[in-house]
Symmetry: none
Subunit: 215 residues, 4 copies
């Protein structure tokens, strides 16, 4: 009983409580979305009274922002950790995509909060998610440019790289969403499919093998 008391003990240090609260909030926001989530449910799930939430993490909006930031940070770290290294650009992109799908597979709630909820909520949240997205696009863009330089960059390719990067990031997001409803596929396979779609197509573009309406 002593141990039990300790386990479920009140009077925990602030940092611990903050993590409990954030964990609960991510769960609740991912379940109901920002608006339909109630602070009451967050407090209940966290096992912490509402005043503590307000004392430690501020308003509902602040709390949501803190969730977004924490999860976005985790995702970005996972992806950059995958990209890191001395590999060729294609391998880097491959590792990044694989890391991305692995993260989504392992943190469903995080992904739901980040992608589905934050996107629909105007203002500071879209901004923060948008900023993360821009970092991702910049990362991919850098890889594409490096790769293209190796292969020689055509004029058409140069103009398109950023949009290509945006499309690639977007398709990865969408594929992740699609995956939530088709869970019987491995993350590795998803990543390789996307690589083929994107990398080979981009490679053709760079190589001058361009598709045009008239062709």
């Amino acid at each position: 009983m002593e141990v039990d008391e300790r386990r479920r003990s009140r009077r925990l240090p602030r940092a611990v409580r903050e993590r409990q609260i954030l964990d609960a909030a991510v769960l609740v926001f991912s379940r109901h979305g920002y608006h339909d989530a109630s602070m009451d449910e967050v407090s209940e799930v966290a096992g912490v009274s509402k005043p503590m939430i307000y004392a430690y993490l501020g308003s509902k909006e602040d709390l949501f922002g803190a969730c977004i930031r924490r999860e976005a940070q985790l995702l970005f770290e996972a992806v950059t950790a995958g990209v890191q290294g001395e590999h060729a650009p294609d391998m880097q992109l491959w590792h990044g995509l694989a890391a991305f799908f692995r993260f989504v597979g392992e943190h469903r709630e995080s992904w739901r909060v980040l992608h589905r909820q934050a996107a629909s909520h105007g203002g500071p949240f879209s901004d923060e998610v948008g900023a993360m997205r821009d970092r991702a696009i910049a990362l991919v863009d850098g890889l594409l440019v490096r790769s293209a330089k190796r292969r020689g960059l055509t004029e058409q390719a140069r103009r398109a790289t950023e949009a290509m990067a945006a499309a690639l990031v977007g398709s990865a997001e969408s594929l992740a969403d699609w995956w939530l409803d088709h869970p019987d596929i491995s993350d590795q396979l998803l990543a390789s499919w996307l690589m083929n779609l994107a990398w080979m197509g981009f490679g053709d573009l760079v190589a001058g093998k361009v598709w045009t309406p008239s062709s």
Copy 2:
């Protein structure tokens, strides 16, 4: 007084009223999102009292669903009209993409409601949007299969077509979103970029030019 009554548009036939209401609702939902949109504002913008809205179109959720359905129908018609004809699969996809971007460019509000708001709202709405998405994916999938059959379908390609279609649809959506922030690009150019990314990459896949991690 008769004239006055006419001026203030009373006693209109039901169909007209319904259109007024739906138009207003699309506008309001696209401006504030589902939750922050108030029935009061819809009724004000529509110039119709709230009880009429409830009488004609049901609850707020029903109303939102009706918006989604109407706009989705319009979009889908636009795209299929583009695809129609005796063209080769690639030209059909091209026309479909062009039609899609043209529609988004010309109906910003519709697109916002469809993509941004509906995605974040669980339950029946995701379902309806998801159904439309599935129709789009099926359409693209059909084109890919036809094209692949022409070129001879590898095992890898066969397994991948649906996911490829999903990724392509998703990247089109994302590119459309991206476009909202980069409006100085023509819809035609967007469509051709995406064709290159998707079609050429898919073509390589079909042709057996496969990217693999070890390569």
Copy 3:
């Protein structure tokens, strides 16, 4: 029963509801003070649901402001009605004071809200009450100046009139407060006492019969 239904009937025109609400609010604010008064109690006393209060009269602060303004207006009208006429200044002041005490005697709650609650509430309310007070002071000041001119105005009197007016208004207010705890005195008597204190003293001052510490 028809009649009963009519009496307590819902669906009353807006103006009537607004008066009901204001009446209830004055009562509740005078009972508990601004902060301890709850909108729930106002709505209960008024026999009107809270949303109506907010729809018709705005926030709690707005509602309080509306009370203040209405009661202040009533009081000021009563006093100026008393002052009106072609009487000599002293008679005018007398009538004003008598009207003031009569009003306070007949509208206890109004007076409590005006004097006790509003004074302690910073910002716009003190301002509004303060403005009414300034109007009252100006009114008295005018009477004092007219009277002094008739009797010849000494230098000391000239410098003091405004402060005298302020002191007189203040002592009337305080006497009214004191009266709330000593209700067995007629308003007429109160007014005449104050006349003697103020008018005769001021008259002496004007006449040069000055009290000084050294005398």
Copy 4:
């Protein structure tokens, strides 16, 4: 570490802590009023944790009462010290008024708490402030009676003295309030104005020079 402990003022004797707390409370109550003052701010300003406040001075209401009592005591002592002595009644009143205005001028916060906040708060506080007020009125009343006896007391004067005293006290309070907005006047001048208004008027009343409506 011992020194550090001393620096942060821990382990002080109870009396010192209580004074710290009361000083802070007077400041905070005068700044925000009773309701808008938070115990958190009091504890912060006092540099003492909230549980100490509750241990030493009880609830918020108790704390407020303690403030009122202490400040009222100070004010009353200042005034009685002014009145003390073998002077004639008028000089005593004069000294009392001068002492009153001096106190208000030198202890703005105390005055605000006493007059503005306490007045608006029903129950025990009005009672305590009222008690102090009654002591002041009794003091003044005594002076008036002594003075009147010297000059021969008319029937009208006898009945009026207490109300006169109340009015005088009230006008002093109101003039003090008015002074807060007109600070460029000396306390001495205020006192002398009030003496003239009150004393001379009262003197006339005593002397039988009565103002009546018909005169």
